[in-house]
């Protein structure tokens, strides 16, 4: 029986879709059977991030309204055996699906997959309630900004009310030098406010933009720090204990050299 994990944030633009794609790709590389479900109906982009846009025939709404069978709508990623995508509909909106249908869909996916990752839309309305309906666990993504943290807090409250206790936190796009100068909230500040367990910290990294635009994921990149951060998260999801990596930016010549030749 698989596990349904919803990736949510409240605020938009903090990196839910990127996180979903990377975690999904990482879990599939680790040998699991993974399906990524794009619950952002009307504003789908998980397919774009994964580079699978041109392969969409049927979507989530087709499945829930019985226009097609589940198997027909699932897109298999050619790069990895275990990775699948269930895309969102682009021409409908959030009301095209209801929480009961999502619950049913998740139950069905659980029979076949080890991990079902749901990319939740921003906001707290119907789209959010659909996305969390069938979830067993939740990952909350935030950035070190007051507004994102505030929204994350609201989301955690709503998750708890929906019996999704102890969500795990990913802090995205942190910039260590800014934190050091006191210009950005630190990990401790954020944890202090949100009072939840940390799943991982992703440093700000150009590689995210570069890989995303190519339809690739940063976990594939062995040299980038953000890729390493995602790989750590994936190990933690599997139950391993991995310390949070040092965020000190590597300034030394030798360290950079090591990185370039792939020793670090």
């Amino acid at each position: 029986m698989g596990e349904v994990i919803v990736v949510t944030s409240g605020k938009g633009g903090v990196g839910k879709t990127t996180a979903t794609a990377n975690i999904g790709f990482g879990l599939a590389s680790a040998g699991y059977k993974v399906v990524l479900v794009d619950a952002d109906i009307g504003l789908r982009n998980l397919d774009v991030v994964l580079g699978l846009e041109n392969r969409i025939v049927y979507d989530l709404v087709d499945v829930t309204s019985n226009n097609c069978r589940l198997r027909q709508a699932l897109i298999k990623d050619k790069r990895l055996d275990g990775l699948h995508l269930l895309p969102a509909a682009q021409t409908k909106d959030k009301t095209a699906v209801n929480p009961d249908q999502m619950r049913q869909l998740c139950e069905e996916l659980k029979k076949e997959f080890d991990y079902i990752l749901i990319d939740c839309p921003a906001g707290i309305e119907q789209g959010f309630r659909n996305a969390i309906a069938g979830a067993d666990r939740a990952i909350v993504v935030t950035t070190p900004e007051v507004s994102a943290v505030r929204d994350a807090d609201r989301i955690i409250g709503l998750l708890e009310a929906a019996d999704l206790r102890e969500p795990k936190l990913i802090i995205n796009r942190i910039r260590p030098t800014m934190v050091k100068h006191g210009d950005m909230m630190s990990i401790d500040d954020i944890i202090d406010i949100l009072a939840v367990d940390l799943l991982g910290v992703i440093p700000e990294d150009e590689m995210i933009v570069i890989t995303t635009n190519r339809g690739e994921t940063v976990v594939q990149d062995q040299n980038s720090r953000s890729g390493q951060a995602y790989r750590n998260i994936i190990r933690r999801i599997q139950g391993e204990e991995v310390p949070v990596m040092s965020l000190e930016e590597e300034g030394g010549f030798f360290k950079r050299l090591k990185r370039i030749i792939g020793l670090n």
Binding site: Q126, R150, D153, R154, L158, A162, D163, I193
Partner: protein, 220 residues
């Protein structure tokens, strides 16, 4: 999802219809309708009142729900929610010996968790929050507010005009703190101070100071 968004409980004072405050009104209404439909007149003639967490239901929505119930033959209870509230907050206690000079005891609402952004508590008596009050959360109390953890949200003590109401918290750093009609927006408070602090009215102003348990004339 474990909790029902609408559950109907029988009490001494008639039925109490408990609504989950975290659901959309539309869902609640549909659920209530289906419950009433499936009861097939079982509740006919019973007195009822609503209870929605500790949030207030907007009057227009409450009227709508009330009308649904009336349609199925239920009679609204005029005492509203007051009775149910005191029932759940007052735990039966055996007093073997007087614990303090305040032998009478006062109604207080115990919140056994932290309040997160968007969550609101409103109560006519005192409010005790056993966790934190996060930024964006709101506590409105007719009496005092005690926060065992840090208080960073909006708190309003003595909301019905009681100027002797107080707010006490471990790390008292509210966004807005009000006592009776006096409003105080965030300032100074040193976040590194790990001690209980108290906010109270002094003349026309709200003052903050260290809270010395036992030394302040709390009960008088």
């Amino acid at each position: 999802m474990g909790r029902d968004m609408v559950s109907i409980k029988g009490t001494r004072n008639g039925l109490v219809i408990v609504l989950d405050p975290n659901r959309e009104f539309d869902e609640i209404r549909k659920n209530l309708l289906s419950k009433m439909e499936s009861a097939r007149g079982f509740f006919k003639g019973a007195r009822f009142s609503f209870f929605q967490g500790h949030n207030e239901i907007p009057t227009n929505q409450q009227d709508e729900l009330e009308n649904i119930c009336k349609k199925y033959g239920l009679v609204p209870n005029l005492e509203k929610q007051a009775t149910f509230r005191t029932e759940i907050t007052e735990t039966p206690r055996k007093v073997t010996r007087p614990i303090s000079r305040c032998d009478q005891g006062e109604a207080a609402l115990m919140i056994r968790r932290s309040l997160r952004s968007g969550q609101r508590i409103s109560y006519t008596g005192h409010v005790v929050v056993m966790g934190d009050v996060h930024p964006g959360a709101e506590v409105v109390s007719g009496g005092n507010i005690l926060v065992m953890g840090s208080c960073r949200g909006n708190v309003h003590a003595g909301a019905e005009g009681n100027t002797s109401a107080k707010v006490i918290a471990w790390k008292l750093n509210p966004t807005v703190l009000s006592i009776a009609d006096c409003r105080h927006t965030q300032e100074q408070n040193d976040l590194t101070l790990s001690e209980y602090r108290i906010a109270r009215m002094s003349g026309q102003k709200i003052v903050f100071e260290k809270y010395h348990a036992g030394r302040q004339a709390w009960c008088v």
